[in-house]
């Protein structure tokens, strides 16, 4: 019996015209509402075993001994693996730096690090057997922040580092350092009439995707393995998995299962290698599904950050200079820390014109949980701080905070601190104008409604803590700047295979990419692109796997741009071949075959004047056109390690928010009433999905403003709240209305003029909410999230 839940083709129906720009519905929508869509945790195989991971109970320790004998003797247990069982020379993995052990070797560096694996015939048997593994830890002092990481005699998290950053970092417990210096900040300071300084703290946020880390590894007869898994980038996983299994890449065949959200948390590997190791050892299919507790340890989080900012401005409101230092806590392993540093530093100035800047960003190695990618990726932390600074400056200058921002807003042609010119529309002032112009939600509703007032709309909600007493409204604004795509010289390409043939008398296009559909709607957009470019109504989306070239990551707001671009490019090549076939077969029937500009529309070959020359089906007959091509956006450059200069980014994304909050100042409870957003998306390929992305990103930003934070004990470096009971996520009772104003100013460098959209709304949402709470309370509030004790001083 084969794998249950193995993905099948998704066929797009014929009734939808559905090209780009239309809000076509998700092709996987019906499967998802009927419960039939196969997520990675839904996989099932006859005779499969369940894998379980034993994780360290301490943050930093030497492993003196491991005794697995009792676990191995447990009835129903098929295998127990430790570091000593790893089959290949390569025993580490990592996105950029291979510093992460598949299983701990003599030492654990963070709470929850994988130490041993168990495979058993029931998940509970595996868990109980794992609990019988005896590990003798000798605890070591923990490194938890910059001071303890760089103190004389500080324990080195990774001794003998030989990665390519070690040469330019001031201490081996610093993963990467990126300074950016432009102009002369010290000299510019003399021109400032006001100077504002601030120290800010951004808490550790969890991606909290709902579909837990999970998958199924099936050993194959050729000694390889078939892996069904939820990830953001199949080929990146493959590159890291195959070497530690000791297998060539073509013997590790990966297929994307249904992905229950990602938000950056699936860029790093989780259970992939572990499931394969157990499957290869036992010769049986092995399923691993994390529960939520384990999920909090099973993926990296958003870097918590300490940010020091200093801005100056003239009396008439022009920014003179900016100095900042951003310290990101990368935790025990590098993950995406170097790239997060690159983003935090190169976007530290935000969407403003400041010619004289002095920026430094670093990421630390500590014994805290590893941190890496999460939606917004370095730019989120910086935006929180620089937007707080903008409000402080406006207040000092007695200016309107929106007008102050507009006065200093970047535009097309502005030079970034890296020296890179922004060469596409940058409507920062316009977005602020639009979000400010939206109608305000009515004030003090509880008064006008009298006894019909609904406490559910008040801070404290159903807890019925106030009927309006002590409730104060505040309004705040913020705007952010995010890069789109992988930066700093990365070869950021994608691949698309497009096939066109006649099935049942109708031309049908099949699009095959390795793009990870994580919920964003890439599969919807690929079908729309194929319809637009090939004039067909029927499009089949082939399951994503490693049988086609890499699509790159579903990260960095890049997939519609890059894999969308690849699909468009391959469709164009297919179209050319179809037209060539038509000229060859039917060219003598009509002179326009040779002379006119030809298109594929409505299943037909037509001239640009609209004259129909042939049915596509008659051109193709029983032949198929099948083309796989790679596609690249414009190349970027690395940032200079000393000055930070370089054309490092591909494209930018801008969003602005206005937050309206009501705060119960006595209890410190915040109700976000409305979060209005205006965003430039270049071209909305699917307007319904665009709005959905903006609203979802907005609420993730709101979460870190008022509730979400992984609490790490400062003494033990242990995670205190690894559950949805203690890590608070916004529910539908917490969220506001989110009116969205979508602006479409084309970026001429991008396919269809589109702009990556997924991350920008996550940037400005947080500082807008904080600004609104400050506006309501008059408090400084230099950290996020804000909790009741920060508002009441208790």
């Amino acid at each position: 019996m084969g794998v249950t839940g193995s993905p099948t083709n998704i066929n797009q129906g014929t009734r939808t015209k559905g090209g780009i720009g239309e809000s076509t519905l998700r092709p996987d929508g019906i499967l998802k509402v009927t419960g039939e869509f196969a997520y990675s945790s839904d996989m099932w195989h006859e005779d499969m075993l369940w894998g379980h991971t034993l994780r360290s109970t301490v943050a930093h320790a030497e492993i003196v001994s491991i005794d697995v004998s009792e676990a191995l003797a447990t009835s129903g247990v098929y295998a127990v693996l430790t570091y000593d069982d790893l089959p290949a020379e390569m025993k580490n993995y990592g996105l950029e730096i291979q510093d992460t052990p598949v299983l701990a070797h003599g030492r654990v560096r963070h709470h929850g690090e994988p130490v041993a694996l168990v495979a058993a015939d029931h998940p509970e048997t595996a868990r109980r057997a794992a609990a019988k593994i005896r590990i003798d830890y000798r605890e070591l002092p923990v490194v938890t922040d910059e001071a303890s990481a760089t103190a004389p005699g500080a324990p080195l998290i990774h001794e003998g580092r030989d990665d390519h950053h070690i040469g330019h970092v001031p201490h081996p417990n610093i993963v990467h350092r990126q300074p950016i210096v432009r102009g002369d900040a010290a000299a510019a300071e003399a021109r400032a009439d006001v100077i504002v300084k601030g120290d800010y703290y951004f808490g550790m946020q969890d991606q909290a995707f709902l579909g837990p880390e999970s998958g199924l590894a099936v050993p194959a007869e050729d000694g390889g393995v078939d892996l069904y898994v939820a990830t953001q980038w199949l080929h990146s996983d493959l590159r890291q998995i195959a070497p530690v299994l000791g297998l060539p890449e073509d013997k590790v065949r990966m297929t994307l299962s249904g992905v229950g959200g990602a938000f950056g948390g699936r860029e790093d590997l989780s259970m992939q290698i572990h499931a394969c190791l157990l499957a290869l050892r036992t010769g049986k299919p092995v399923k691993i599904v994390y529960n939520r507790f384990e999920s909090f340890f099973g993926h990296v989080h958003r870097h918590p950050a300490r940010l020091h900012y200093e801005h100056g401005a003239t009396r008439d409101g022009k920014l003179t200079h900016m100095k900042c230092r951003i310290v990101l806590d990368g935790g025990a392993y590098a993950s995406a820390s170097p790239a997060v540093v690159g983003n935090a530093s190169s976007l530290a100035v935000g969407p403003y014109v400041i010619e004289d800047v002095d920026i430094e960003a670093i990421a630390l190695y500590t014994n805290n949980p590893p941190c890496g990618a999460m939606r917004g990726f370095g730019a989120v932390q910086a935006c929180f701080a620089y937007e707080a600074q903008m409000d402080k400056l406006a207040a000092r200058l007695d200016m309107d905070p929106v007008e102050f921002r507009q006065l200093n807003a970047m535009e097309q042609g502005t030079l970034l601190p890296t020296g890179q010119q922004v060469d596409s529309p940058a409507p920062v002032a316009e977005l602020l104008r639009r979000v400010k112009a939206m109608p305000m939600p009515p004030e003090r509703q509880w008064e006008s409604a009298g006894e019909h007032a609904d406490v559910r709309a008040l801070p404290g909600g159903l807890s019925n803590t106030t009927h309006g007493e002590g409730v104060v409204r505040g309004v705040g604004y913020a705007v952010g700047l995010k890069n789109v795509g992988f930066s700093e010289g990365f070869d950021d390409y994608s691949t698309a295979r497009v096939r066109m043939e006649v099935i049942g008398g109708e031309p049908v296009a099949t699009v095959h990419t390795a793009m990870a559909e994580v919920g964003q709607g890439g599969v919807t957009v690929h079908a729309q692109i194929a319809r637009t470019e090939l004039g067909v109504s029927q499009v089949t989306i082939h399951p994503a796997d490693t049988q086609v070239g890499s699509a790159g990551s579903t990260s960095a707001s890049r997939q519609t741009y890059v894999t969308g671009g690849a699909v468009k490019n391959s469709c164009e090549a297919v179209r050319e071949q179809v037209l060539e076939m038509g000229r060859r077969k039917l060219g003598t029937h009509h002179p326009a075959w040779a002379t006119a500009e030809l298109l594929l529309e409505g299943g037909k070959v037509v001239t640009d004047g609209g004259e129909v020359l042939a049915d596509i089906a008659d051109v193709l007959e029983d032949e198929a056109v099948d083309i796989e091509l790679e596609w690249r956006h414009r190349p970027t450059e690395a940032f200079d390690l000393r000055t930070g200069q370089g054309n490092g980014h591909v494209q930018y994304s801008f969003a602005a928010h206005r937050a309206v909050v009501e705060v119960d100042t006595e209890l410190g409870l915040v109700k976000v009433i409305e979060l209005a957003c205006a965003q430039d998306v270049g071209k909305a390929l699917n307007p319904l999905s665009v709005v959905g992305q903006i609203q979802g990103g907005t609420i993730q930003g709101m979460g870190i403003a008022v509730m979400e934070e992984i609490i790490v004990d400062p003494v033990t470096a242990k995670v205190r709240n690894p559950s949805f009971t203690d890590y608070l996520l916004p529910t539908i009772l917490d969220t506001p209305t989110i009116p969205v104003d979508v602006l479409e100013l084309a970026d001429d460098h991008a396919p269809y003029g589109l702009r990556g959209i997924g991350e920008a709304p996550t940037l400005s949402s947080t500082p807008a909410v904080l600004a609104a709470i400050r506006n309501a309370t008059g408090l400084e509030l230099d950290r996020t999230p804000v909790r009741p004790e920060h508002l009441t001083g208790v």
């Binding site: 709902l210 938000f263 609203q695």
Partner: protein
């Protein structure tokens, strides 16, 4: 142990059930019904919501043995459940377990593969399922099954809910993708369509 109960109108039996297994585990791993989801397995997210004798529950918090002889509706049976309700009690809700799916209809949904066609009038979905698709309330979809069961139960009880009613009824269901706006839209849409047809 062995457990017997009705799921979506059909009798199901599971053998060799360990006493600690949840209803969710038995549905997903022993009965081939993985539609109910396992986002937290600690009763916080609502992704595993099913109807147990008509009452919405987190199936991860219900021991399988507690379900012996009882009646369960999951997302896989929601369309038939809603259709049966509409036939048996037109224009009204029906909150009791008597609203189970007929064997005939339960077989029908199992036998038919999804159309793979995103058009707006498949006729095989419940009104709330159709509204979720039409309103753009589905992104990754992992919260969707639980939300559908909860929202369907809300509309059964309160056919024309206010926004505050919707928020209260769905507050036990986490969604990480949508920011909930399109989910509100979907419930409003389903309620409005129901009103039009009455």
């Amino acid at each position: 142990m062995r457990v017997n109960f009705t799921v979506n109108g059909r009798r199901h039996e599971a053998d060799d059930v360990w006493e600690g297994e949840s209803l969710l585990y038995v549905l997903r791993e022993r009965m081939g019904l993985p539609g109910s989801k396992n986002a937290c397995e600690q009763g916080e997210c609502g992704s595993c919501t099913v109807r147990l004798d008509g009452v919405p529950v987190c199936s991860c918090l219900v021991a399988a043995g507690q379900v012996e002889g009882r009646d369960v509706v999951t997302v896989e049976g929601l369309a038939d459940f809603a259709a049966h309700r509409a036939e048996a009690h037109p224009g009204t809700g029906c909150a009791s377990g008597a609203c189970g799916t007929s064997l005939d209809r339960a077989k029908r949904w199992k036998a038919e593969p999804a159309a793979g066609d995103e058009t707006r009038d498949t006729g095989e979905l419940s009104p709330i399922q159709q509204a979720f698709i039409d309103a753009g309330a589905v992104q990754c979809g992992f919260c969707t099954p639980g939300l559908l069961v909860a929202a369907d139960e809300l509309l059964e009880r309160t056919p024309q809910p206010s926004d505050a009613d919707i928020r209260e009824a769905l507050s036990g269901n986490l969604c990480r993708c949508t920011g909930y706006e399109k989910i509100l839209d979907a419930v409003r849409l389903a309620a409005a369509r129901a009103e039009e047809t009455v």
